[in-house]
């Protein structure tokens, strides 16, 4: 009989449903097949013209009905699609979820084409005044909804019947992990029996791409696209902007067992630590990331020796991969070179607000399937980063525990520890 309370006397949190969308496809089955085949979803940008752009590739999700309808519409569809898969798998009524919603999604902004349409709708000389004047005469709420930060969560709440005030959050590239953490904490505090945690990002607009380019964060290895994301390689030159989503149904183990649900994995621990060093760079000694990993292990009640696999943040930027290696080798010591660690981003790119959730979903599947997805494009190892990155080909392995890292701009560091089985 599994223990229903963890080492700190809190309810054990199980995962009973998983949903995923990435540039590799819709749903767990397609994603897992592609991921374990070492297939890349990175492709040339076709959504907008690439004139003047140094980066002309991405991992955009171009195959959904909303893919051409702006960031807000696409982010909603990504979230809804992943949530539907997860809730269905959990065997819960699709329109009566009965627990709170935690949504990680990108900050919204009015789409440029909407701004242009407003501008063209009037003739005052001052553009700002004109736009405001045209805006208040709109006969549709579509633009308003797309520019409200709470809209996507509100619509998801309507669709799935989640309870209470939904929380929309942003911790930059750690957002997806934070959404899961908030769900875990709500269950542990006894506020609910189950929670729906979703990370979704469909915000790869031209301006988003240009903003990251101006910060020199993106890979410019445009040709061939599938080779651009090369975490832990010596010639890595930035991340690849991407879109996607994942949803987890989190549930107290007690509630999951009571209703006979299939337990897909256990969310053992969450840890975080903010960095006060710089807006985009981490503290040179790696102490905040180290503290986040240690906090997650402590929260999970596991020692460093008890982690079987690490799902890396592994963005493929020179800075991140170096820092991640420094932090992990500090925590795990000599053993770090023997722990398999791979980066899903080598195939799907960096899905920003969704990344932590997608990578948690893949971590859970890694344990269930007994297969570690590879780090592809590992042709030119960085000698300064001595890691077993599961290079280029998947590996069969018995994986009982995973550490998944998420680090983001603004000093955000969040780590999750997951386990295949309850204790």
């Amino acid at each position: 009989m599994a223990k229903l309370k963890d080492h700190l006397g809190r309810p054990v949190v199980a995962v009973t449903g998983i949903g995923v969308v990435t540039s590799l496809g819709v749903g767990k089955a397609d994603n897992w097949a592609a991921l374990t085949a070492g297939k890349s979803g990175i492709h040339p940008i076709t959504r907008f013209p690439i004139d003047q752009l140094n980066t002309r590739i991405s991992g955009m999700v171009d195959f959904l009905p909303s893919s051409s309808k702006g960031a807000s519409a696409l982010t909603y569809e990504l979230a809804e699609t992943a949530a539907r898969e997860a809730v269905t798998e959990a065997g819960i009524d699709l329109d009566d979820f009965g627990g709170p919603l935690f949504l990680a999604s990108p900050p919204v902004e009015l789409d440029w084409h909407d701004r242009l349409a407003l501008y063209k709708g009037g003739d005052q000389p001052d553009a700002s005044e004109r736009i405001l004047d045209v805006a208040r005469g709109l006969n549709s709420s579509e633009m308003f909804d797309s520019a409200q930060f709470g809209t996507i969560a509100d619509r998801l709440s309507d669709a799935f019947g989640t309870t209470g005030l939904p929380i929309t959050l942003s911790t930059a590239c750690a957002s997806g992990a934070t959404a899961i953490q908030l769900g875990v904490e709500a269950i542990r505090r006894g506020e609910c029996e189950r929670a729906l945690s979703v990370g979704a990002d469909g915000s790869a607009t031209a301006e988003a791409l240009i903003r990251f380019s101006l910060l020199s964060a993106l890979s410019t290895s445009n040709d061939p696209p599938e080779k651009a994301s090369k975490p832990f390689s010596k010639d890595r030159d930035g991340f690849v902007l991407a879109e996607g989503s994942a949803a987890l149904v989190l549930e107290s183990l007690e509630s999951a067992l009571a209703r006979g649900a299939t337990v897909l994995g256990i969310l053992r621990g969450c840890g975080e630590k903010a960095d006060d060093f710089h807006r985009t760079r981490s503290k040179p000694d790696g102490s905040p990331a180290i503290a986040a990993v240690k906090a997650a292990l402590a929260d999970a009640g596991l020692s460093e020796d008890e982690i079987d696999y690490i799902n890396a943040h592994g963005t493929s930027t020179p800075e991140n991969d170096k820092m991640e290696h420094l932090s992990l080798s500090t925590v795990f010591g000599e053993r770090i070179s023997q722990i398999p660690i791979s980066s899903n981003k080598s195939m799907i790119g960096h899905t920003l607000s969704a990344a932590g959730a997608i990578e948690a979903a893949f971590s859970l599947m890694t344990m269930r399937e007994g297969v570690i997805p590879p780090t592809i494009n590992y042709d030119n190892p960085d000698p300064a980063i001595a890691l077993d990155v599961v290079p280029n080909k998947k590996r069969e392995a018995k994986v009982g525990t995973v550490l998944s890292n998420s680090f983001g701009f603004g000093g955000q560091n969040t780590c999750l520890v997951m386990a295949r089985e309850p204790v």
């Binding site: 907008f48 013209p49 004139d51 003047q52 752009l53 999604s105 900050p107 919204v108 902004e109 009015l110 440029w112 701004r115 242009l116 501008y119 553009a127 700002s128 005044e129 736009i131 405001l132 805006a135 208040r136 005469g137 709109l138 633009m143 308003f144 520019a147 409200q148 930060f149 709470g150 509100d154 309507d158 209470g164 005030l165 929380i167 929309t168 959050l169 911790t171 930059a172 934070t178 908030l182 904490e185 542990r188 505090r189 031209a206 301006e207 903003r211 990251f212 101006l214 910060l215 975080e272 630590k273 903010a274 960095d275 006060d276 060093f277 807006r279 701009f409 603004g410 000093g411 955000q412």
Partner: protein
Amino acid sequence: MTSHDVVITGIGLVSSLGEGPDAHWQKLTATGTKPVLDAERFAPYTVHPLPEIDWNLQIAKRGDQRQMETWQRLGTYTAGLALDDAGIKTDEALCSTMDMVVAAGGGERDVAVDNTILAASESRPDFDVLLNEKLTTELRPTLFLAQLSNLLAGNISIVHKVTGSSRTFMGEEGAGVAAVETAAARVRSGQSTHMLVGGAFQTEHPDMLLGYELGAYLHRGAWKPVWQRAGSEGGGVVSGSGGAFLVLESREHAEKRNARVYAELGPVRSGRARRKRGELGSTIETLLKAANLPQSQVLALSGASGGHAATSAEKAAIDAHAGLTARGFGTLTGHMKEAQFPFAVALAALAVHNKAPYPVFDAASERNFDGIPEQVLATAVGYHQFEGLALVSAA
């Protein structure tokens, strides 16, 4: 009374009325305080503008100030006021273990660049190519970070060294409600000993007005108190620039360090009425029931925005409770969106702490409150969606 009760030990406030809890208490309890209004700059809209602020007082490094647009600067400044007020700003050990939840908007774009692009579009059929040309050459590289939602929290970490944990909630007034609710739940459950929670809103930017006006929510024409805008031109919301941050602690933690305690933060309740189905009134009623209101007379610091439907529903729900006496502080500060709920909680705590009520802010719509307010309600009913309230009590 338990060791994990949530107490308020620090308050940081900025609005058109000034800065700091004392200045706000003085202004708001003086009779006949008039709102500070600017009806010219964004006509036909009136806003409550920021007061003069010496940013150096809370953000020592000019370099840090330059990395933020006004909204982030305002939030970072207000957070500093709260930390100072709680007596922990220079306590590295306390700041490095402090958890933080920020209610954020964002998107303070470069208006000049945007308007250059729009002007150039007049003579260009290929708008998307024009966008690439202009954005790659005209955008200031660091602007992205200076307007990014989670970078208010990021800057608070950098400037004030608050680094326990950092979470940013988004979603207008609901973000402020959820931030306070989550922070309180963390303290109550023993998960955090001390937390920084709050938000800021900088309305003096055309896009910040646009966010409301895409839904025709802004009041136009002559200014009126928050309860008196029904039937006026426009949607009823008059926005204001400002911020509110609170330091929340467990009673045990506060007592151990001999902190001054303003008040206890009691139940925080949140909701999501499906307003199109007419649920707002009943949802507010349900929240009021869940707040465990005492039998005695209760002062209610209402964050009402003036938005017609939401404000009239809130007014009706409050009026239906004979024991509730409302004060719509938006009359004097304007509506501060994400910061509105933390602001309401802060004003409630000040009344409890000072053992005195606020006089009426609008003599035509509000009635006198006699006696000492031992428990004060704080509300925020979103102009469009999401609602919440909290009961603040003598500690």
